[in-house]
């Protein structure tokens, strides 16, 4: 048995009733976890694109790709993990921000190129995009600052260069 590894998978799927639950159901029925998942329509609004992250070994990953492809609604799938690709995730974070903490928060958001998008007299809401590691590093850097709410989009992935996920199945 090889060890589990992070896989980031792109899926093009018919934007139809039940497509999402078919995919989610496949994961639970076959014993895979979904670490994170994001879905939205593409430029062709009859097709949705999904990016999904899961942890499993190579054999299970290759079986997963085949099982996904076998779903009638799925138009195409690709495991981006082993090819050069770009990943981005968005974080929305509401933190407690007392007068004393404001400078520190401002400095951290600058360092991470995050943005403060909403302010109250006791809170800051911060937006950050980047690879998942950067998101995690930012959250870590907050130290004692109290997080009130944390929303992450889950990873989005796209391959580098002219490669694209074809619609033709």
């Amino acid at each position: 048995m090889t060890t589990d590894k992070r896989h980031i998978i792109s899926i093009l799927v018919e934007n139809e009733f039940g497509s999402l639950s078919r995919i989610a159901g496949l994961f639970s029925a076959r014993g895979y976890n979904i670490h994170c998942l994001s879905v939205a329509p593409t430029s062709d609004d009859s097709i949705s694109r999904m990016t999904l992250v899961t942890y499993c070994n190579e054999a299970k990953a290759s079986q997963l790709m085949k099982q996904l492809y076998k779903l009638v609604d799925v138009i195409n799938v690709k495991d981006l993990t082993d090819e050069t690709h770009i990943e981005r995730e968005m974080l929305l974070l509401k933190v407690k921000s007392t007068l004393k903490q404001r400078d520190e928060l401002k400095r951290l958001t600058d360092i991470f190129r995050a943005r403060i998008i909403d302010v109250t007299d006791t809170t800051y809401t911060i937006e950050l995009t980047g690879p998942s590691e950067k998101i995690l590093a930012f959250i870590d850097s907050l130290g004692k600052i109290k997080i009130i709410e944390q929303v992450r989009s889950g990873a989005l992935g796209i391959s580098r260069g002219s490669e694209s996920l074809e619609i033709k199945k």
């Binding site: 799927v13 054999a59 079986q63 085949k66 138009i75 199945k169």
Partner: protein, 576 residues
């Protein structure tokens, strides 16, 4: 042509060449039933429980390789179908299930007889649809038939809200046969290069073995399988689902493999150096311990479903596509490499196999006092000359049919292999008998299994189906008792069938003929008589030895070479 939604459904079914619908009415499908009333070409078979409808449609499909069609109402109608849909799905059987749904305005409101049909069936079918508008009914039906019958077949459910079937609202009807489903594409065949490579590998074998499963039958590839196997003079085994794909009476046939397979088939699997797997899925009942599976073999796998490849066992070479086509091309290519086959090695291999065959692993102790279950199947085979369609339920009786009724043709053996559904046998026999009204259809069952869908005896009377039901009545859930004997120190928890009905009388009360056979000396005579009663359903309750076990057996976690033979089997033959 302007038609209502219900009429579109019926017309679509006609365009697909459907002859039978197995169904049960209810509120949400009454408009459809009304349209069906007027339809002449399609015959509706009224079952007595929706599970029966799914198994009957399934049995029909298995017997004649055409999709079985089911029509049921919303709520309990479709939930009663769950077991039958899952049964068909596990064995890749083409089936269309049409279920009524509450009208669109009530969907999601917990309306009377509302159930989330697509949600419930999603993990147990190849695909399902909830129709949302009248205009898409015809196209959805076409898509459903394409998906259900092509590639690796399977059940497809179409859930249709009642308001869409309203007879008063009519729309234009056109049935386009050629439609493309962009997200659904089947790989038909493999490149010549890959097939040639496989042919070369096959012909390099010194100890070859062919392992063929239900995919050969579903792919209508039996003839090509026989040609290839004969051409190569290789030994062959069939899975439980593949029985009949290769004639059992042929000398190259080693019997079934797996948990209750023959000694020679399993030993040959363990020892072979090249394994050709065709339309088989390396099920755990076949492989035994996967770490010890065919340890010396290079494996070639032919299958229509890419996700079957290397799912359980890592294979060396795969050919993805239609089994029939690939086998034909493979045969052509092996003709080039046949000269490379090492004839001496092959005859040595056959000598070894013959020595395993001398074990006579299917021999059993005969008796003049109690009826041995194996002898019932052998007698049935003798009387019917092995030509019947035989359905079964699940348990010991199922394994004995698989072992002793030597099927020579595909589609004759109809059983629930993947899901192992008790209750399958009788309704499946209904489907098979309707597909082939003039053929002999036997349902070999157990006294426990038959009670799970016994109500279908009533259906048999209504449609005059002359099925012959034979129970191997051992007063036990025999397969459960066997496991309790082996693995639970003989604590027979809940496996004794107390309060068994008088089956002969039961059958009579349903309007059929009932018989009991309890003496070995009567067996052949009485069975012959029962089977000769044309036009009538006969329920033959055969009282069999309650202590008999199914052998050979590979205990779980063991390899093919570690099988247990019957205590009575010939032990003094040298293990090669």
């Amino acid at each position: 042509m302007k038609l209502s939604g219900s009429e579109i459904i019926i017309e679509s079914l006609k365009k697909e060449g459907v002859e039978y619908i197995f169904g049960y009415p209810g509120g949400a499908v009454l408009h459809i039933y009304d349209a069906l009333f007027a339809a002449e070409k399609i015959k509706h078979v009224l079952v007595r429980h929706e599970q029966g409808a799914t198994h009957a449609a399934d049995g029909y499909a298995r017997a004649c390789n055409k999709p079985g069609v089911v029509l049921v109402t919303s709520g309990p109608g479709i939930t009663n179908c769950v077991t039958g849909i899952a049964t068909a799905h596990m064995d890749s059987i083409p089936m269309i299930v049409i279920s009524g749904q509450v009208s669109r305005q009530y969907v999601g409101s917990d309306a009377f007889q509302e159930a989330d049909a697509t949600g419930i069936t999603r993990p147990i079918c190849k695909h399902n649809f909830l129709i949302n508008d009248r205009e898409s009914i015809a196209e959805t039906f076409r898509k459903a038939f394409i998906i259900s019958t092509t590639g690796r077949p399977g059940p497809v459910i179409i859930d249709i809200p009642k308001d869409l079937t309203d007879p008063k609202v009519k729309i234009n009807f056109e049935y386009k046969k050629n439609i493309k489903i962009r997200s659904y594409n089947i790989k038909k065949s493999e490149s010549d290069e890959k097939i040639k490579e496989a042919a070369k590998l096959i012909c390099s074998a010194k100890k070859p073995m062919i392992y063929a499963g239900g995919g050969v039958i579903l792919g209508k590839a039996s003839n090509n399988l026989v040609k290839l196997t004969k051409h190569l003079n290789f030994p062959i085994t069939n899975t439980l689902m593949g029985l009949g794909a290769y004639p059992s009476s042929d000398k190259q046939f080693l019997g079934m493999l797996g948990m209750h397979g023959t000694y020679e088939a399993n030993m040959a699997m363990h020892d072979c150096d090249v394994l050709l797997a065709i339309g088989a899925r390396f099920d755990d009942r076949v492989t035994g311990d996967t770490n010890q599976f065919c340890p010396k073999a290079k494996i070639i796998h032919i299958d229509i479903d890419p996700s079957s490849i290397s799912k359980i066992i890592e294979v060396d070479h795969s050919l993805i596509g239609d089994t029939k086509q690939i086998l034909k091309k493979l045969l052509d290519h092996t003709k080039h490499f046949k000269k490379d086959i090492n004839k001496d090695a092959l005859s040595k291999w056959w000598r070894k196999i013959n020595s395993w065959q001398k074990k006579k692993c299917l021999s059993y102790k005969k008796s003049t006092k109690v009826i041995k279950p194996q002898s019932v199947i052998e007698t049935l085979h003798k009387i019917t000359k092995g030509k019947s369609f035989v359905t079964s339920d699940v348990g010991q009786h199922q394994m004995w049919v698989a072992q002793y009724y030597k099927f020579d043709k595909p589609n004759r053996w109809i059983n629930s292999g993947g899901l192992g559904t008790m209750g399958f046998g009788l309704p499946a026999a209904i489907g098979a008998q309707l597909a082939y009204p003039r053929e002999q259809v036997l349902c070999v069952t157990g006294e426990a299994s038959i009670l799970m869908c016994i109500q279908e005896l009533s259906t048999c009377l209504q449609y005059g189906l002359p099925i012959k039901i034979i129970t191997l009545n051992n007063r036990y859930m025999g397969m459960v008792r066997q496991w309790q004997e082996f693995f639970y120190e003989g604590r027979y928890a809940m496996s004794y069938m107390d309060a068994i009905p008088n089956f002969a009388q039961l059958a009579e009360s349903f309007g059929h003929i009932g018989m009991v056979i309890d003496k070995p000396k009567d067996l052949e005579k009485d069975l012959t008589h029962a089977l000769s009663l044309k036009n009538r359903l006969v329920f033959v309750d055969v009282i069999t030895d309650e202590t008999e076990n199914v052998y050979p057996m590979i205990m779980s976690g063991k390899g093919h070479h570690e099988m247990h033979l019957a205590p009575s089997a010939n032990e003094d033959i040298e293990l090669a």
